[in-house]
């Protein structure tokens, strides 16, 4: 059973967490260091005590999940979360794009 520690959502210009600039630059560097072309950046970072999953969508929005090492089925979770995000946030007429959001 996956233990999910936290979930972050950041938009294209970064919005939510303190590491927004750091993550964007590391994402870019990891693409530059790729041995083959067409790299889309870091998807999974595995550490001793946690795993960090990062999903990037076509719009540039990135979703992060911090969970216990070895957690499975994160892709299904991301799909569900994205569906909820589009339904409740993007279809909200009062939501301004690129705005920080308390969901």
């Amino acid at each position: 059973m996956a233990a999910i520690y936290s979930l972050y959502v950041i938009n294209k210009s970064g919005g939510l967490i303190f590491t927004r600039y750091l993550w964007h630059s590391m994402h870019a560097i990891s693409q530059q260091l790729s041995p083959v072309s067409r790299c889309s950046g870091i998807e999974l970072l595995q550490a001793d005590t946690f795993d960090l999953h990062c999903f990037q969508y076509l719009t540039g929005t990135k979703f992060f999940v911090v969970c216990k090492p070895g957690s499975l089925h994160m892709e299904a979770l991301f799909k569900q979360i994205y569906e909820l995000y589009t339904d409740y946030v993007l279809k909200n007429p009062f939501y301004e794009m690129e705005m920080r959001r308390a969901i």
């Binding site: 590491t19 870091i42 550490a47 001793d48 005590t49």
Partner: protein, 169 residues
């Protein structure tokens, strides 16, 4: 991270399951960021000069380690982001994966960093990196003609690393 586990000095290598070129590159850095060894087996895209490439790689790893230590959900809040970390201090990452490659990382207690870049579906390579570290100890560190901090120019070491990496699944 428990580095000196087990009773064997050198762990036995994993059974060779594939014969292909699964690994793209190998880097070995010392604690000061000097690239001691760079081996390349399968790299189609080279965007930077070698020196820039090493600096970028080292910088990326340094930042990722800081980030991981800061983001560790199981520890109390520590110092600021960017504080230099000692080897073994705090939570360290051991690999990251993109859609085109997987990078596996290991830092020894003396600050020697071993990085192996392979295809994305590779499994956990921590034991393999420990084995490569043991090869480094046997062929390089114990070599009386090798001066620490300089480039590794040992053909026997290169050969044994090539042979071992070729056998990784």
């Amino acid at each position: 991270m428990q580095f000196f586990g087990g009773s064997e000095i050198s762990p036995s290598p994993p059974v060779a399951t594939a014969s292909g070129n699964n690994a793209h590159m190998l880097y070995i850095f010392n604690r000061n960021g000097i690239c001691l060894l760079y081996r390349e087996w399968n790299r189609t895209l080279k965007t930077l000069s070698p020196q820039q490439d090493y600096k970028l790689m080292f910088g990326l790893l340094f930042s990722l380690r800081s980030l991981t230590e800061k983001m560790d959900p199981t520890s109390a809040d520590k110092g600021n982001l960017g504080v230099p970390l000692l080897p073994g201090q705090g939570c360290s990452f051991h690999s990251f994966r993109t859609n085109t490659y997987k990078l596996s990382f290991m830092e020894s207690p003396s600050g020697v960093k071993i990085i192996l870049v392979t295809h994305p579906r590779t499994g956990d390579l921590r034991d393999s990196l420990k084995f490569i570290y043991n090869l480094y100890v046997e062929y390089v560190v114990k070599n009386p003609l090798y001066s620490p901090g300089s480039l590794i120019r040992c053909s026997l070491f290169n050969k044994s690393v090539d042979q071992y990496v070729r056998g990784l699944g």
